[in-house]
Symmetry: C2
Subunit: 333 residues, 2 copies
């Protein structure tokens, strides 16, 4: 009646079992399983056959303990972030191509980034790639003395950092809007999120150099805070003094912003333009139809894996791409 997990696990077969069953030494069996050189085709065939029959799988703990080559990478990111999910997909593909496995650790508001990092390291990964919004750079560099640590989406001094050129992305958005006649821009900033400061600064700079008015609203990287911030703004600001274009920190924030706009009965893009960032799946949907900035996920992933596997890990900065959709239009005063 009870589940069958109650029965004692029948010890999984070990390399010794395989060796014994195929009448060779453990060392030779190891050579075959690793695909190393030094075994005849004949032995190879036999050992592989036996291993398959027994359902043998190498124990990665023992393997990495001995060889310091676990062929496993640690990846730290936040769950529920569309961009992170995309990145993970690309990273998996890249790691695959190099014969590496990936295990993840989830960072989050309530979960200590340092601890996530430690958990991955203790599990025996060869390198860690991660999005660490809040972990102090000092701690990261400290850890990086033990094994390669690659910072994704955030520039960390002294660490290989794979990032997008935020200034370029924001500049494209601002110029796109300015070219359509907008002279009063509003940025819903990402709070403590990764890249938030870069985008905020880039926004101010780009607006200044285009000689248009710029205002920044402190918000966050999620729907709710963005909604709240913009909602308050729209209620408190006389309609005539309102910005005619809103740049949200990312697409999720734009979704929240959109709802504040709808609630204020403003038309997008007729009365107000809206932009996101990241070009998430839902930004492409008809109603959102969000002008956004696409980060080069594939290139980021490729660079991160490369930095992780080659000890001489180099930082790199990748160009984003403006994606114009229906949520931005000409300013009609």
């Amino acid at each position: 009646m009870s589940s069958n997990s109650a029965s004692r696990p029948p010890k999984r077969p070990t390399l010794t079992d395989v060796a014994r069953a195929s009448g060779v030494s453990v060392a030779l069996a190891s050579i075959v399983m690793r695909g190393a050189e030094g075994a005849s085709e004949e032995s190879r065939a036999k050992v592989k056959q036996v291993a398959a029959n027994l359902g043998y799988r190498p124990d990665s703990r023992a393997r990495s303990l001995r060889s310091t080559r676990s062929r496993t990478l640690g990846l730290a990111l936040a769950l529920g972030e569309p961009l992170h999910a995309e990145l993970a997909d690309a990273l998996y593909a890249q790691a695959d191509a190099h014969g590496f496995e990936i295990i993840l650790g989830a960072t989050g508001k309530h979960r200590d980034e340092r601890r996530v990092l430690n958990t991955l390291i203790d599990a025996g990964v060869e390198a860690v790639i991660g999005v660490f919004p809040e972990l102090p750079a000092a701690q990261l560099t400290q850890v990086s003395k033990q094994l390669p640590v690659i910072s994704l989406l955030r520039k960390v001094k002294g660490l290989p950092s794979i990032i997008t050129d935020e200034a370029a992305g924001i500049k494209q958005l601002v110029e796109h809007l300015v070219a359509r006649g907008h002279t009063r821009l509003l940025h819903l900033d990402g709070g403590s999120a990764v890249a938030a400061r870069q985008r905020r600064d880039a926004f101010v700079a780009a607006a200044a150099s285009a000689k248009v008015q710029a205002q920044v609203l402190v918000a966050g990287a999620d729907e709710t805070t963005a909604f709240q911030a913009l909602h308050d703004y729209l209620e408190q600001t006389p309609r005539t003094q309102c910005a005619s274009a809103v740049l949200a920190f990312n697409d999720r924030a734009a979704l929240g912003a959109r709802q504040a706009i709808d609630l204020a009965a403003l038309q997008v893009p007729a009365q107000i333009s809206l932009t996101g960032y990241d070009d998430s799946e839902f930004s492409r949907l008809a109603h959102a139809d969000l002008t956004s900035v696409r980060q080069d996920v594939t290139a980021l992933a490729e660079a991160a894996i490369h930095a992780a596997l080659n000890a001489s890990g180099k930082s790199s900065i990748h160009a984003p791409q403006l994606v114009v959709r229906g949520s931005t239009g000409e300013r009609r005063p």
Copy 2:
């Protein structure tokens, strides 16, 4: 100029180092680090002090290799799913309380669930908790002979399965709508997603027992497919024959559905009611303001951890809760 990860990792301190530095045997140092009994308070203090100074961290590979107690759980889920993110949060909290670490594996359209499972097992976890939408039950039960495998959100025969009472959730939605005069219901189904069949069947059954018309549209668990399916439906169905209420598979699907509805210039809830499932963060936003069904994430997590840690892992089924918001209303013919 180059990053400092190029310098050779200064081997991390081992238990032997700690023992030597504190002038005791390795065995005693081990006892202290484990908090096992058999050491004087004096030695305890000294060893701990030395360990802290050296920055010693036990190697979980060696530890679990020897003792088959890694105090680590594997968690397999999909990235980018709000519900999964919530579950992970709750599971982390629960695991914490039991002194367990968690490492994740991401399942996904392009990633073999079996392989994710293997990666976690090879990393030395004591048990795996996972959402496995597509992995055949036979394979799961096969693996569960090696270590406890807990199925989350999907009933798998022969495996401890922690699920929500989908029939109850759907029934509440249907009855809620029927009570408001709706007699023609449409369900956007979740395709091959976990729980999709249960919800679909429950929808048909609940509609039948309430004696209202029911129609099911094949879609999927994401925004895009839901949008597409409903968009086509609204275009092809004469307005007078349209359903007056749409039950989306989950909140993400509801978001897509909402956009199809907006595009068709229908008012929610005046002309058409819409419901989601999962009560995600964004379903609470003003514009979405989505009537949904809340799964008891905390209870699910608690049950899953309990099943994973106690070999006698029991299945359980949890009651969901209807959350009424502004996206559903009286039918106005």
